[in-house]
């Protein structure tokens, strides 16, 4: 296990139908790095997160997490498909928060958070409950542990979703447009929570977002994506304030127009 890199995309290609969404993507992310990916819809940003979360499989190329190949194993110079146990082991290092929360509506808040630790990590239920209540307290929802997801507001649902992902103690956290379905005032509450999280933990974090002010506060690196390739990347001030590529400038001015 190589801890010099957290995430590596090597020559990743992915198509949906006839549409090539990612074409030979190369990207390396360091441990504890906070990377924000911005770009127009359809540019492949969410695909990157979905590939990393192993929700999809790349058509070609390699994905490495902490130096280990996710989908393939090398055995005597032969590249073989990894078995499901290995893929699940790799998947356990990554957590994801989704745009539409995806809470389990038939389980109460506490059980939403404890279900995975109990079923996947075999944590005893009492211990899982205790840790879940701590996490709920951390996201500011300690008193909601017995509520049904349907009773929560959007912002509360997203905070539960964050607690649920944190319950498995991933090394890498992915945030896929987590505030796009929230109204602006609620969105900033969630984003402040994530900022706290970024300061308090050592997790590598990858964001897809349209929130440029948030990007400026959290990003070690901003990557501008368009049509499946990296157009430009650098620090937040480099990319957001003084972009060098015309396409980047065009995108940023459109985004500022809309916000």
């Amino acid at each position: 296990m190589n801890m010099d890199t957290s995430i590596q995309f090597i020559n990743i290609s992915k198509s949906y139908g006839g549409n090539m969404v990612l074409n030979g993507l190369n990207m390396t992310i360091a441990p504890k790095e906070h990377v924000v990916i911005i770009g127009p819809s359809g540019s492949g940003k969410s695909t990157i997160l979905r590939l990393l979360m192993t929700l999809e499989k790349p058509d070609s190329g390699e994905i490495l997490i902490e130096g280990e190949n996710v989908w393939h194993c090398m055995r005597r110079d032969q590249k073989l498909h990894a078995d499901p146990a290995h893929i699940r082991h790799m998947r356990s290092k990554v957590g994801m928060v989704f745009q539409h929360f995806n809470l389990f509506p038939h389980l109460r808040v506490l059980q939403n958070i404890t279900e995975a630790p109990v079923r996947v990590l075999a944590v005893p239920r009492a211990e899982a409950n205790r840790r879940a209540k701590e996490l709920l307290d951390r996201v500011g929802l300690a008193d909601k542990y017995n509520a049904w997801p349907a009773e929560l507001s959007g912002g509360q649902k997203q905070r539960v979703a964050i607690a649920r992902a944190l319950a498995l103690q991933p090394h890498i956290m992915l945030f896929d447009e987590i505030t796009s379905a929230l109204d602006p005032e609620i969105a900033s509450q969630v984003l402040n929570l994530v900022l706290d999280l970024a300061r308090q933990t050592d997790m590598t974090m990858l964001f897809v977002t349209h929130q440029m002010r948030f990007a400026q506060q959290i990003a070690d690196r901003v990557v501008f994506f368009d049509q499946g390739t990296i157009v430009e990347q650098g620090t937040a001030s480099q990319v957001l304030e003084s972009p060098t590529q015309p396409r980047t400038r065009e995108f940023l001015s459109n985004v500022r127009m809309a916000s």
Binding site: M53, T54, L55, R88, R91, S92, V94, G95, M96, F98, H100, F101, N102, L103, F104, P105, H106, E115, A116, R119, V120, W148, A150, A161, R164, A165, L168
Partner: protein, 218 residues
């Protein structure tokens, strides 16, 4: 034609014994259809295209051939190749397999209604596909499909008289035996009709209660 109440009380016990068989066939047939249907629906979800098209062909075959012919085939033809099964068992098995083709459709529709985000979130939390299916997907898919499943149950119940054609002593069979013996068909057939009506209404009521109970829990 006049109604003979004395005959009614005389034949009622025999018809009620037939009703026990009717209910037995319905309940066991439905259990089989519910379990098999869920298995078919699960198989239809797998990415393996071979399994998918085989299942589609099997389901299509079951739906496109009459239940009565399936019953006759299993009861009268199978013994010719050495497979002899008692009549009631044959009846329950054929009812169950036949209706599993319909319950599979109901399950499939219910499963399709589950947002893909539920599958994503489950995978992200590293549930196995089986855990996802049983703990996350199925509990959400079941309550909305209770009415449609209930209709299947009642339809199967009303199909049980077909079992009389393979010598099962359910209600219709007994009614016809009484009629053949006494030449009075009015009373036995009316009783059977009324019993079917009452039990269907009862079943509808219970389905409604089941559905409301499952909804309140949310």
């Amino acid at each position: 034609m006049t109604w003979d109440w004395k005959l009614v009380w005389h034949i009622l016990p025999m018809i009620l014994r037939g009703m026990v068989i009717t209910i037995e066939a319905t309940v066991l047939g439905m259990l089989l259809a519910l379990v098999l249907g869920l298995i078919w629906a699960g198989l239809l979800l797998l990415p393996n295209r071979c399994i998918f098209w085989t299942m589609r062909a099997v389901i299509e075959f079951i739906r496109d051939t009459p239940l009565l012919i399936q019953l006759f085939f299993c009861y009268y033809v199978l013994p010719e190749i050495g497979i002899t099964i008692p009549a009631l068992v044959t009846g329950i098995a054929v009812l169950g397999i036949n209706y599993s083709a319909y319950t599979a459709e109901v399950y499939r529709a219910g499963l399709q209604n589950i947002p893909s985000g539920q599958w994503d979130a489950s995978k992200a939390l590293n549930f196995t596909p089986w855990q996802t299916f049983i703990r996350i997907i199925v509990p959400q898919a079941l309550p909305p499909i209770v009415p449609a499943m209930g209709n299947n149950l009642i339809a199967m119940f009303k199909d049980t008289p077909l079992l009389s054609t393979i010598t099962v002593m359910e209600m219709l069979n007994r009614a016809m035996i009484i009629g053949d013996k006494t030449f009075h068909y009015l009373e036995p057939l009316t009783i059977v009709g009324v019993l079917f009506l009452l039990m269907s209404l009862l079943a509808s009521g219970m389905i409604g209660i089941t559905q409301r109970t499952l909804l309140v829990r949310r």
